[in-house]
């Protein structure tokens, strides 16, 4: 099975969202987008709206849960939190990512 470019990016974004929710606790979509932008120094996300496509996928996989709540400014917002299966998935994906990035890192350094 081959992965298209978009599939790889999708997987990366999923991993980032899971990691963010795991580290920061429940957050709303805007918060997650801001956080990823800050950490990645605005390199990953072109459109903030993309985050919602990722969120709806993760909810359907039951890796995260969504709930309406109030934001810090007392605005109605949907809060996302990581589920138990999501945490398992995060561990697995992280290992996977580390393995791949290790391989790619070695590969690239060997070229030099």
């Amino acid at each position: 099975m081959t992965h298209s470019k978009s599939e790889i990016l999708q997987g990366t974004l999923d991993l980032m969202v899971l990691q963010t929710l795991d580290a920061m606790g429940p957050m709303h979509g805007y918060g997650i987008a801001r956080r990823i932008e800050q950490v990645s120094e605005e390199a990953v996300m072109v459109n903030q709206g993309t985050i919602y496509l990722c969120l709806v996928r993760l909810v359907q996989k039951r890796w995260i849960k969504a709930e309406w709540g109030a934001s810090e400014n007392n605005r109605k917002a949907k809060f996302y939190s990581i589920s138990k299966t999501g945490r398992k998935q995060l561990v697995a994906e992280t290992e996977n990512w580390e393995r791949i990035s290790g391989v790619i890192g070695r590969l690239l350094s060997a070229r030099r």
């Binding site: 805007y30 903030q48 919602y52 400014n73 605005r75 109605k76």
Partner: protein, 890 residues
């Protein structure tokens, strides 16, 4: 794959909650935008500028909404429509392939739709009443496994002590006479019912009132509710009919209501009157009521069953004598109660056969698809090279399968409704209850649609996966010939053919067994001369004939009158028109002094008037026929058949010996109560078949004189060359000369009686046979298709072989060998499967065993011949290959 499943479930759910999810997401986006704006304002932007930047940052509201919708739901309608258009174009292009596939599927799906239409009517749809699923019948089951009614006393006890039912009602079916001043007396099927019957059913009369609580108390004024047909035909739909007086079985009664046309509960009833038990109907052993009730909402059937089991134990403790024969109480739905015993496995087997036909059709179409896969692989490879994902390709191929399945399903429904019409016609005259209607209703449509979906996946998935798996590069290079993938494809389509052959063997064997037992049944000789013999029913239901004496007097007066009708050769009365009998009873013989007593056996009993043997044209073997005095006190005589004589008196003369009936089965706990009355054997009859038509063996028969305990229900058996309607008219005149209120039931020839009794075998046997023929056609078509395809594929190879000198015989053997190989494997698996399943037929067969070697051998031979025929044409074509053309061709 559980994650994939949860995801799919969520996506399907999203389809149905789309509007609320849209609203949800709008709110989420709005709050996102607001927060983004606030942040920008905080950083010093003007509100307008902040809003503009926020909209840019989020990346186009409409596009995000659309993508979100697609991400959470199923693929958009647009892309499915596109696939559909493509599928239709392809189906139109490959006309011959599509026609073969659609036809095969139409046969398979049609057989299923037809089978389900019948099953639906018989088992699922139920009675046409509000919440009919809550209506249940309560009955006893005898130790012999037969359904037994309920006595009035038991009904009263259940009513008082059962908590599971809203209320309990009961009916007792009977033929009723109506007579009045309007015309000839008529007979209709009627039911004596408890006063609450219609309220339990939740049915209202069309006009007039229903029965009121007091109507079934003893001493109440006699009232009657008439059916729509009686109202229309007898009373000309007179709107002022209420309050009209008539005589019901000779008793003055008043019409209080008319039931609507669609209400003929319980079976085909046209008259209803309150059940008021008379003295003779009060004992606990008089179990003449069919009891039913509406289960309380929320009470499951098994809870009611448990409660009634408990009550039955109490009854057994209180009345051990009355409960002696009964094994348990049954609580079941009306349809289950009606279609018990032999009919259920028949229906189930036919449905099973239909499913087999469908499986064979699926294997057939799948093997066609496999054959085409090399050709499809090239097209698919191009699409995948242009960026289509594998799942998208599989989806496209499955949509094609679905379109094929639904085209087949549509045609199948047409075939099904035609065959159901045919089935319905075959069932006419078998006295089915009025609620059994074989129609293509919404349930049948839903079932057919579901079958189409399942079928599409069944035959389409494996080929679709196979096609999409063929690596794109390979397919493009190879131009789809001599490919690595094609060996696998060949194997797959060959195994489909093997599966078809094996399934066909099983089906053919089943059909063969049914046909053979059907033929055995037809070849069965009833032993009598049926030419010119006609029969008419006569039921003395009127209150005038409550005593056996009054009935005997009626029949004594009738017989000389019948014999005197010009054109009647001879006439007799009987309770068992061959091949029927008048009931089974347990009988024992009086042992000679010193001999041990023989074990009692079950025999068929038949009451006859003296001229019976004369009418059926079977003279006695020994002894004398009944005379006018036989059956009077002091001359209790019987005639037995040879079978009984051989059983009880091997090597001895039965004439002059005595036998008697044992009313109940003996059990160690309670000694059998034995009806006294020894009866002396005066004659031995020839071979006449009595019993149920399924029992092909000749059972032991005891004939009793009609005059002894004359029954109220008799059949006139007349040998006459007169036309049936003239004969009926003449008989009616004589009957009504004795009793003007007494009607005569319609006339039948003996051949009609016989055909009516054999309908299950005729109908189910021919359905089964039809399915088997379909299966044979489908699988031979499949075999032919695969063979023909392989010849086309190997044209080049064959060309080379011929060019270097292969003989034509060798070439055709090359092709034939593969077909024979598949046939051998299919035969082996199929015969093993048929042997394994044959015990399912055990209860339906007559005269042969389920592992009948002749049937098995014939079926194997038949399939071999047909299969070889299917291989011959391709093999012959292979020998016609012109090496010059074949080698140049590409």
């Amino acid at each position: 794959m559980p994650t994939a499943l949860t995801e799919l479930a969520a996506r399907v759910r999203a389809l149905f909650t789309s509007p609320s999810l849209d609203h949800d997401f709008d709110q989420e986006l709005a709050s996102h935008l607001a927060m983004l704006e606030e942040d920008h304002v905080r950083r010093g932007m003007s509100p307008e500028e902040a809003r503009r930047v926020a909209l840019i940052r989020i990346g186009g509201i409409a596009s995000i909404q659309q993508q979100h919708r697609e991400a959470r739901g199923l693929p958009s309608i647009d892309s499915v429509l596109q696939d559909l258009r493509f599928a239709f174009r392809l189906i139109a292009k490959d006309r011959w392939f599509s026609a073969a596939a659609v036809l095969a599927l139409a046969l398979g799906i049609g057989a299923n739709a037809a089978g389900f239409t019948i099953l639906n009517a018989v088992f699922f749809r139920g009675l046409p009443f509000e919440r009919a699923d809550r209506l249940h019948m309560l009955s006893w089951e005898s130790r012999a496994g037969r359904q037994v009614g309920v006595s009035h006393a038991e009904l009263e006890e259940w009513r008082a002590r059962s908590r599971s039912f809203e209320s309990l009602a009961a009916y007792s079916e009977a033929t009723m006479n109506i007579s009045d001043d309007r015309g000839l007396p008529a007979q209709s099927s009627g039911a004596w019912v408890t006063a609450n019957t219609f309220s339990v059913l939740r049915q209202q009369p069309l006009i007039g009132r229903s029965f009121a609580p007091g109507d079934d108390r003893s001493g109440a004024d006699r009232v009657v509710i008439i059916g729509y047909t009686v109202w229309k035909t007898r009373y000309g739909a007179d709107p002022n009919i209420l309050g009209e007086a008539l005589r019901l079985n000779g008793q003055p009664s008043t019409i209080i209501g008319v039931m609507p046309e669609r209400m003929r509960f319980p079976e085909n009833t046209e008259l209803w009157a309150p059940f008021i038990p008379i003295e003779a109907q009060t004992p606990r052993t008089e179990r003449l009521l069919s009891v039913f009730g509406r289960l309380n909402d929320g009470t499951p059937r098994r809870e009611a069953q448990a409660e009634l089991d408990g009550l039955a134990q109490q009854l057994t403790a209180a009345y051990p004598d009355a409960m002696n024969d009964l094994a348990r109480v049954r609580v079941e739905t009306f349809t289950d109660a009606f279609v018990g015993g032999r009919a259920r496995p028949m229906f189930m087997t036919v449905m099973g056969a239909a499913i087999f036909v469908l499986l064979i059709a699926c294997a057939n179409v799948a093997s066609l698809l496999f054959s085409r896969s090399a050709y499809r692989a090239r097209e698919i490879a191009v699409r995948m090279a242009m960026g289509a994902t594998r799942s998208r390709v599989v989806r496209q191929l499955l949509i094609e399968s679905t379109v094929l399945a639904f085209l087949g399903g549509g045609l199948g429904l047409v075939l099904a409704s035609a065959s159901v019409t045919f089935f319905d016609a075959a069932m006419q005259g078998t006295a089915l209850p009025y609620w059994l209607v074989f129609t293509t209703d919404s349930a049948v449509f839903a079932y057919t649609a579901a079958i189409c979906m399942v079928t599409a996946v069944l035959f389409g998935l494996a080929p679709a996966l196979q096609v999409s798996k063929m690596s794109s590069l390979d397919a493009l290079n190879e131009c789809g010939r001599g490919t690595t993938g094609s060996r696998r494809v060949r194997w797959l389509s060959a195994s489909m053919v093997v599966a078809e052959l094996a399934l066909t063997i099983v089906l053919l064997t089943g059909a063969g067994l049914m046909m053979r037992s059907f033929m055995a049944l037809y070849a069965l000789d009833t032993g009598i001369r049926t030419d010119h013999v006609k029969t008419m029913g006569l039921q003395l239901t009127s209150a005038t004939y409550l005593s056996a004496d009054s009935r005997r007097i009626f029949f004594d007066r009738l017989q000389p009158r019948l014999a005197a009708i010009p054109g009647i050769e001879s006439a007799a009365l009987t309770t068992g028109v061959p091949p029927l009998d008048g009931g089974e009873r347990l009988v024992e013989v009086d042992a000679l002094a010193g001999a041990s007593r023989a074990r009692p056996i079950f025999v068929s009993t038949v009451r006859i008037s003296p001229s019976f043997f004369n009418v059926v044209g079977v003279p006695l073997v020994r002894g004398r026929e009944f005379q006018d005095l036989d059956g009077s006190p002091g001359s209790e005589t019987v005639i037995v058949n040879e079978r009984l004589a051989a059983q009880f008196f091997p090597g001895a003369d039965p004439i002059g010996r005595r036998l008697r009936f044992i009313e109940r089965e003996t059990s160690p706990a309670a000694p059998a109560s034995v009806a006294p009355g020894w009866r002396t054997i005066v004659g031995i009859s020839g071979r006449i078949l009595h019993g149920s038509p399924q029992d092909a063996y000749l059972s032991a028969v005891v004939y009793m004189p009609f005059r002894q305990d004359s029954p109220g229900s008799a059949s006139l058996l007349v040998r006459s060359a007169l036309a049936p309607d003239r004969l009926l008219e003449a008989v009616r005149r004589e009957v009504q000369a004795i009793d003007p209120d007494q009607p005569v039931l319609p006339i039948q020839t003996l051949d009609q009686v016989l055909a009516e009794e054999r309908w299950p075998y005729r109908t189910f046997g021919s359905m089964f046979g039809l399915f088997a023929v379909m299966a044979l056609l489908l699988s031979s078509m499949g075999l032919y298709g695969v063979m023909a395809h392989s010849v086309t594929q190997r044209t080049k190879e064959i060309g080379v072989r011929i060019a270097i000198g292969a003989q034509r015989r060798q070439v055709s053997w090359l092709i034939l060998r593969r077909g024979l190989h598949q046939l051998a494997v299919g035969l082996t698996i199929g015969l093993a499967g048929a042997l394994g399943l044959s015990h399912l037929f055990e209860r339906m067969l007559v005269g042969i065993t389920p592992t009948d070697p002749v049937t098995f051998a014939m079926i194997a031979l038949l399939l071999t011949v047909v299969s070889i025929a299917a291989c011959l044409l391709p093999a012959w074509r292979a020998t016609r290959v012109d090496p010059v053309i074949a080698l140049r061709a590409d």
